[in-house]
Assembly symmetry: C2
Homo-oligomer: 157 residues x 2
């Protein structure tokens, strides 16, 4: 099971009026082991390079690598548990994702998010959309995933 | 645990030369229950509307809904197990995702993929990139997720 440490995110839940372009939010950390990688893959992405060290060695990845969807799910966990504390929860409308580097057994991940757009809804005055660029980094500060997501955020007021 | 039935995809593994714009590939099916939804959420997306029926009723979703990342992971499972049989495995370079409708307990999902671009690599003659639009549909043929992915594919030859 992934080991998790608490985030440094503000404990309060943020409303639309709290967001501004350029803000940076940083999550806690989480360490993944080979059993986590294989367990996720067996259920959701059963390909040899995510399931077996020997098979992975001869593959494109040159060794056991987490499924990109596992990396994405772990990123969500880090965002939801302190990385981006949004009032009423984190409800994504759309996402762009790129996996820049594989996640390996023993990697410790964290997510650094930057607000790149804040836009009130035209039709619904109680909410808006915040666009966030979230980089998932390993313990060497190398990006393993780059994600841009458009998230629905309600006003606090 | 999700119930899965086999895909109708060709059993052979497809190389770059097998792909052409306009081709349609269809996966098998998979049925999700409330325990699956809560189990995934507890591990990767612990928000009340993915974890608890009562809390979900008063939320944006109006009832228990799967995490979008769970939908994405299930889509990958359907693609990898017959939905899009690629030689050497399915290695994604980048993805765009939108969740059009929540996945509910009891939903049966399948994935219909259309090839929208095939492009040989400029630098590496043994491979290329195929862009695929994959729609994840529920039992009423409603789209729950729309995904465009750019996948690396090796030549058969």
């Amino acid at each position: 099971m992934e080991q998790v440490s608490a985030g440094q995110g503000t404990p309060v839940a943020l409303g639309l009026e709290d967001f501004a372009v350029g803000q940076i939010y940083e999550s806690g950390t989480l360490t993944v082991d080979a059993a986590d990688i294989k367990g996720f893959a067996a259920r959701f992405d059963p390909q040899p390079f995510h399931l077996d060290e020997i098979a992975a060695r001869g593959s494109f990845f040159g060794g056991l690598a987490a499924s990109g969807w596992h990396t994405a799910a772990l990123t969500m966990r880090l965002l939801v548990t302190g990385g981006l504390p949004i009032k009423g929860g984190m409800i994504g409308a759309g996402v762009e994702l790129a996996w820049s580097r594989p996640v390996r057994p023993g990697d410790t991940l964290r997510v650094v998010s930057e607000v790149i757009e804040v836009r009130p809804s035209r039709s619904k005055p109680d909410r808006g959309f915040v666009t966030v660029q979230s980089r998932t980094l390993n313990q060497k500060d190398e990006a393993v995933q780059e994600m841009t997501s458009r998230v629905m955020v309600f006003r606090r007021g």
